[in-house]
């Protein structure tokens, strides 16, 4: 029998990014006992990297903004396959969630009359993003972290959950290990919230940290929960491309919000060449109008650089493929040019975009107030994830909840910038509230010792295989998966390449069974990488299979063999669950009919 420490809580939260922390705060406020497990130290989760801001229709900068406009923007951005109920709740509740952060100590940038300042962002009709320079994520995570430490919440730092435990149709716990000793821990709970964030590490070029190994998706899937929308992976248009060691690191959309423009090597602003019909009415058709928009002119339309991320990323890929890219395989993003327009431009840029200035200065030896940056698309965000009920955030397995990036539905086929930070607040709060409610209404379940035994045995297998370095390396399997997905299931997809990817994944799955690790269980990154492989592989497979089924192009999902939107697919979601033969099974499911009042909002704002 495996040895382990035992812990018991009413609500267990996995992940301490924005969604997990917000869920923990809410559950603790409901008076239940709460544990929070995180892979890193508190406050280091990927939320810390969010730059541009949090979207909420507070209307401080433009009073025409309201929840209806935010709802319509989110649905349009998601190409209408979003869970409309989530989009409605999100738009309605985001303002209260942002304002309450201020009561907890957050300090957003201010308007001249002292209220929360809001900035422009892609796909949002009005200035809507509350922000702190370009380090909004840090502000949010620190505010939530500094609240949680005073609450009655047990924090387990540098712990990883390997699998969930079930009692019949319900999740009743989780089995994990601590990094420090490599010892196992059994967490018993009445309700469990997955807030594990993203999947970026499925790909080679990503803005995500090592933590984004799709844990929540793997855990939920193996516990029998359904996934949804897995084909929709957002490639952020602007990641760093040079030097190679920093490729993928995010360059905030805020650069474009402040007037930054995209140019090809000929110096042309290529975004004017292709403005989608759905956005033509609200996009500037000349440089002058675009500039006025970024400077707050309410009568001007937004420049095409601020079109949705999926579209901007594809335009950049087109420029690069057709030979008009920058020297290191990207395009130019220029904010320095604003010196032609405003006095003290260098100071202005440093004040508005301090961490971008710092990042390029330190990592690329480049002064963004003087020279253009080189940027290209980077894997950024999973719109898909664990399927949840819009109101309660419960998955299709009882007692298992999900929130934030690991859950799915709000963003449809493409997420608008700023909507992830509001997502994690709105649905983190809801998940915490309903998990606490579930815990109060249900008795503790039974822990099955056989499940515990199986999980620990599987987790230790890489040590059993140790052959002194001649066997399969977890790093090699991980790298090959990342390269295959980057190459075959990236921004531009075709049937043939995706079949190749599936075949590759099948082989990698076999190899993953045989990976071996050196050393002992103490803080052993090789072992951690071996364990994370299962989550990466199942996620890669789900992405492939869903992308194969969606025979059209929509939002972030672009297929050269089906380059147009097909309205038959506009009314369905792809649902993934474990099939009998061990591979992922995908089915199409019709989207529930939208109530008339929401439909009217969308029609009125088209």
């Amino acid at each position: 029998m495996a040895e382990y420490d035992e812990h018991q809580h009413d609500v267990l939260v996995i992940g301490a990014g924005g969604a997990g922390l917000r869920a923990a705060v809410e559950a603790a406020a409901a008076g239940v006992s709460v544990g929070i497990v995180c892979k890193s130290l508190l406050g280091k989760a990927h939320t810390v990297m969010a730059e541009g801001g949090v979207a909420a229709a507070i209307g401080n900068v433009d009073e025409r903004d309201n929840w209806q406009v935010h709802f319509a923007d989110t649905m349009r951005g998601g190409a209408y396959v979003n869970n409309w109920r989530m989009a409605e709740l999100h738009a309605k509740e985001a303002p209260a969630r942002v304002k309450e952060l201020e009561a907890w100590g957050a300090v957003f940038d201010r308007t001249p009359d002292g209220r929360i300042l809001q900035r422009n962002f892609g796909g949002h009709r009005y200035p809507r993003l509350a922000h702190v320079g370009d380090r909004t994520g840090l502000e949010m995570i620190r505010t939530l972290q500094d609240r949680v430490i005073y609450d009655k919440v047990d924090v387990f730092m540098e712990f990883t959950v390997v699998d969930l435990l079930r009692d019949g149709d319900r999740v009743v716990g989780a089995l994990g290990y601590d990094r420090e000793r490599g010892a196992f821990h059994l967490f018993k709970c009445k309700a469990l919230v997955l807030a594990t964030g993203g999947i970026g590490r499925v790909y080679k070029v990503t803005s995500n940290s090592w933590e984004s190994t799709a844990d929540g998706i793997g855990l939920a899937y193996r516990a029998g929960a359904e996934l949804i929308d897995m084909e929709f992976v957002q490639f952020h248009p602007t990641g760093m491309v040079w030097p190679p060691s920093v490729a993928g690191i995010l360059v905030t959309e805020g650069v474009r919000g402040e007037g930054g423009v995209l140019r090809n090597k000929l110096g042309k602003r290529f975004m004017f060449d292709d403005i989608p019909p759905l956005y033509r009415n609200q996009t500037a058709d000349n440089e002058e109008e675009g500039w006025r928009y970024t400077q707050g002119d309410k009568n001007a339309r937004r420049p095409p650089e601020l079109l949705t991320r999926d579209h901007v990323a594809r335009c950049i890929v087109r420029e690069i493929r057709e030979g008009r890219g920058s020297p290191h395989g990207g395009v130019f993003l220029d904010i320095a040019w604003i010196k032609e327009r405003i006095p003290n431009a260098a100071e202005h840029i440093k004040r508005k975009l301090p961490s971008m200035y710092h990042q390029f200065k330190k990592l690329a030896d480049l002064d963004i107030t003087k020279e253009p940056m080189e940027v290209g698309p980077t894997t950024h965000y999973a719109m898909g994830g664990v399927r949840v009920d819009a109101d309660t955030q419960m998955s299709t397995v009882r007692g298992l909840f999900a929130a934030g990036e690991s859950a799915a539905g709000l963003h449809g086929a493409n997420r608008l910038g700023g909507n992830s930070l509001s997502d994690l607040l709105v649905f983190g709060q809801r998940a915490g509230e309903h998990a606490a409610k579930f815990a109060k209404q249900n008795p503790a379940g039974r822990i099955d010792p056989q499940q515990v035994e199986d999980i620990t045995r599987r987790a230790l297998a890489p040590f059993e295989h140790a052959s002194g370095g001649t066997g399969e390396s977890p790093y090699a399997v991980q790298r090959e998966l990342q390269e295959s997905m980057q190459e075959l299931v990236g921004i531009v997809r075709t049937e043939d390449e995706m079949h190749q990817a599936l075949e590759k994944i099948r082989k990698l799955k076999e190899r993953a069974q045989r990976v071996e690790v050196d050393g002992n269980r103490m803080y052993n990154p090789g072992w951690h990488t071996a364990i994370d492989l299962r989550n990466l592989l199942v996620t890669a497979e789900a992405i492939c299979r869903c992308a194969l089924e969606r025979k059209e192009s929509r939002g972030a999902h672009f297929r050269v063999d089906y380059p147009e939107r097909d309205e038959r697919f506009g009314k369905v979601n792809m649902v993934t669950r474990p099939g009998r033969d061990g591979s992922a099974e995908v089915r199409m499911e019709p989207i529930r009919e939208m109530p008339a009042e929401l439909r009217q909002i969308i029609e009125a704002m088209k």
């Binding site: 990297m49 300090v107 209220r115 380090r135 690790v517 103490m522």
Partner: protein
């Protein structure tokens, strides 16, 4: 730039260990963390290193590089003399867990002893407040802190004198400054600063400011103003006499100091 370089990395745990030399291939733009990752993937799968964002935003990968406390992800190899061996060792001030990873949990425990943010009642009916940009900018500097704990590592009160039970350290003073100068906060943390958090031990050598990757002026903007407030409150003879006469006076003096 040469195509390879030698990295001398501390390997071991609380029981003991040694420096080991590794060769890593060097390419353009690499940072120290890239070299450590390459060594980990190719030569030492079990080499323990803490990291996350790799962009200087999370403050996880703190270490001592050639004896200087830095973030590994923001230290470019071109800034180091690669003709010589590059030495990488864990933070000295905190207990070693394994290789480059130390137990920094003490910092989190101390933070909990700081009185929490306590805002004044909302200014507007909708529950919101009004603050001027100029007023928030002062504490936004402190809120940039990424909790890398390099300032704690370098501070001699902790590093050499080991006064962990009497002294909260620069990171925590930055946090207290953030709360004390917060335009909305109503708490008084000065007695704690003096007694529990031992601000008097700081003799403003400014080592913390020098290592801060966020370039926060820790000594000038956080610690010195806090020290002045402590002095004003506790050693100003007029305040002391009046404080004895009017028991409610001290609270008002603190509020005045906040402005």
């Amino acid at each position: 730039m040469s195509s390879s370089a030698t990295f001398r990395i501390w390997r071991g745990d609380a029981k003991g260990g040694e420096f080991r030399d590794y060769q890593a291939e060097i390419s353009e733009g690499m940072v120290v963390l890239d070299a450590v990752h390459q060594i980990q993937a190719r030569q030492a799968n079990d080499l323990a290193v803490r990291w996350n964002c790799k962009a200087g935003k999370c403050g996880s990968c703190s270490a001592e590089i050639n004896g200087f406390p830095r973030l590994m992800c923001m230290t470019r190899l071109t800034d180091l003399p690669l003709s010589e061996v590059v030495t990488i060792q864990p933070l000295h001030t905190f207990p070693l867990l394994k290789d480059l990873v130390t137990d920094v949990s003490w910092n989190f425990r101390v933070k909990k002893t700081v009185k929490r943010f306590t805002p004044r009642p909302a200014d507007a009916a909708d529950g919101s407040w009004r603050m001027a940009q100029a007023d928030v900018e002062r504490i936004q500097e402190f809120r940039k802190c990424i909790e890398c704990f390099l300032c704690q590592d370098v501070c001699h009160v902790l590093r050499n004198h080991r006064l962990m039970d009497q002294f909260a350290g620069p990171r925590n003073f930055v946090n207290v400054a953030n709360l004390e100068m917060h335009p909305l906060d109503t708490q008084n943390r000065l007695p704690d600063l003096k007694d529990r958090h031992g601000i008097g031990y700081c003799n403003i050598t400014k080592c913390c400011t020098r290592v801060c990757p966020e370039e926060i002026k820790i000594t000038d903007n956080a610690i010195i103003p806090l020290k002045e407030r402590v002095v004003d409150e506790h050693y100003d003879p007029v305040t002391m006499v009046l404080g004895k006469i009017f028991s409610g006076f001290r609270g008002k003096a603190t509020t005045a100091a906040k402005r």
